[in-house]
């Protein structure tokens, strides 16, 4: 295990400069999608999918780590440890 090849590390500044334009374009895509939603007829404010998008964006803005994992969990059905019993499986 100790002789595993180690991943290289990049400085925060390098990551930022290398990823900036791609991130910028993704933010624009999301902004334009929300604009499109606003222009469309009818309201979706009450729908769960709309709320999930808002909650996902809130995760991006908070100060905590593991954002990708937390967005994934937000979009996931919960796990019930008693599932076997509920299904009558042994």
């Amino acid at each position: 295990m100790s002789n595993d090849p180690k991943p290289a590390s990049r400085s925060a500044q390098k990551v930022l400069s290398e990823e900036f334009f791609l991130s910028r374009s993704k933010i624009l895509d999301l902004a334009a999608t929300l604009d499109r939603l606003d222009r469309a007829e009818g309201s979706v404010d009450e729908l769960q999918q709309r709320q999930l998008l808002i909650q996902g964006i809130e995760i991006l803005l908070d100060k905590n780590p593991d954002k990708a994992k937390r967005v994934q969990l937000l979009m996931s059905r919960p796990y019930d440890p008693d599932w076997r019993k509920n299904y009558g499986l042994h």
Binding site: D4, P7, A8, E18, Q72, L73, S76, R77, Y79
Partner: protein, 271 residues
């Protein structure tokens, strides 16, 4: 760079794709049995499919110097039909001695139902009885977290299962840790849009290290890219990772995992 794609559905790809993959460095691949896009009507339909996987595809791959291996099962989507599933499971041993079979797969869950779980357990039992390795499909999107935990729960519960001979595929940020912590191998499936991108796969390699981790393209009939592993190699190179690390993930790890099957021969000789 020479690489192995451990999970690619070549029945849905053209012969030109085989040629492209060979040009890009693919030296071996493994193709788990999966859903055909429609539910098959009878066990005979699966028998023909298994002939395609064990006899036809290896020849098509060999034309381009690629080794083709396969895994057999009835997939989770069709497992909803329990009686058909049992007929298929009873027929699979007919093919287990074919020279390119690595084990049972891709078994797993789709919508995490009771029928899917029942058939999953029966496949695991088949694998154990015939001393076969297992390749696992975990569900997509909102079902992945729940389904992966159910699968891990079932595998851990069966004390006969050797975890080092089980590959759990389609792991993402919220499932990878548990799969690795429990001693299984993990596969990241690179999909252009809906699943894991090469950049996110590179992130997981950086966070978890290369041990028991591999990447695949799925390359099925949906929107997918059979050359996704070369994309990951490019991303890792761009980030400054060593050749040694990259090769470990895209070549040595699949070799090490597959070598636990008697039918596997390392494509570049033993290292």
């Amino acid at each position: 760079m020479d690489y192995i794609d451990p999970h690619i559905h070549m029945v849905s790809r053209t012969t030109d794709d085989y040629e492209t993959l060979a040009r890009m460095g693919c030296v071996a691949m493994s193709e788990p049995a999966f859903w055909a896009g429609f539910d098959r009507g009878s066990v005979e339909s699966f028998r023909d499919y298994f002939r395609q996987l064990t006899q036809f595809e290896p020849k098509r791959a060999a034309q381009f110097g690629i080794q083709h291996y396969t895994w057999l099962c009835i997939n989770a989507k069709e497992a909803e039909n329990v009686s058909l599933s049992r007929e298929v499971i009873a027929m699979i041993p007919e093919f287990l001695n074919e020279s390119n079979v690595l084990g049972i797969g891709e078994i797993g869950l789709n919508k995490n139902t009771k029928n899917e779980s029942t058939i999953f357990l029966e496949h695991v039992d088949l694998a154990v009885r015939y001393n076969q390795q297992i390749l696992i499909h975990t569900p997509h999107l909102e079902d992945k977290f729940q389904g992966t935990k159910m699968i891990v729960d079932m595998l851990v519960h069966d004390t006969r299962v050797d975890r080092s001979r089980v590959l759990v595929d389609h792991v993402e940020e919220h499932t990878i840790q548990e799969v690795l912590d429990q001693g299984f191998w993990a596969g990241m499936t690179l999909y252009p849009v809906t699943k894991c991108t090469p950049a996110r796969a590179a992130d997981m390699i950086e966070r978890f290290g290369p041990e028991r981790l591999m990447a695949n393209s799925a390359g099925d009939w949906g929107p997918s890219k059979p050359t996704a592993i070369p994309d990951l190699i490019m991303e890792l190179k761009r980030r400054g990772h060593s050749r040694e690390l990259i090769r470990r993930v895209v070549y040595e790890n699949p070799c090490k995992f597959f070598s636990q099957s008697k039918n596997f021969k390392a494509p570049l000789g033993s290292s």
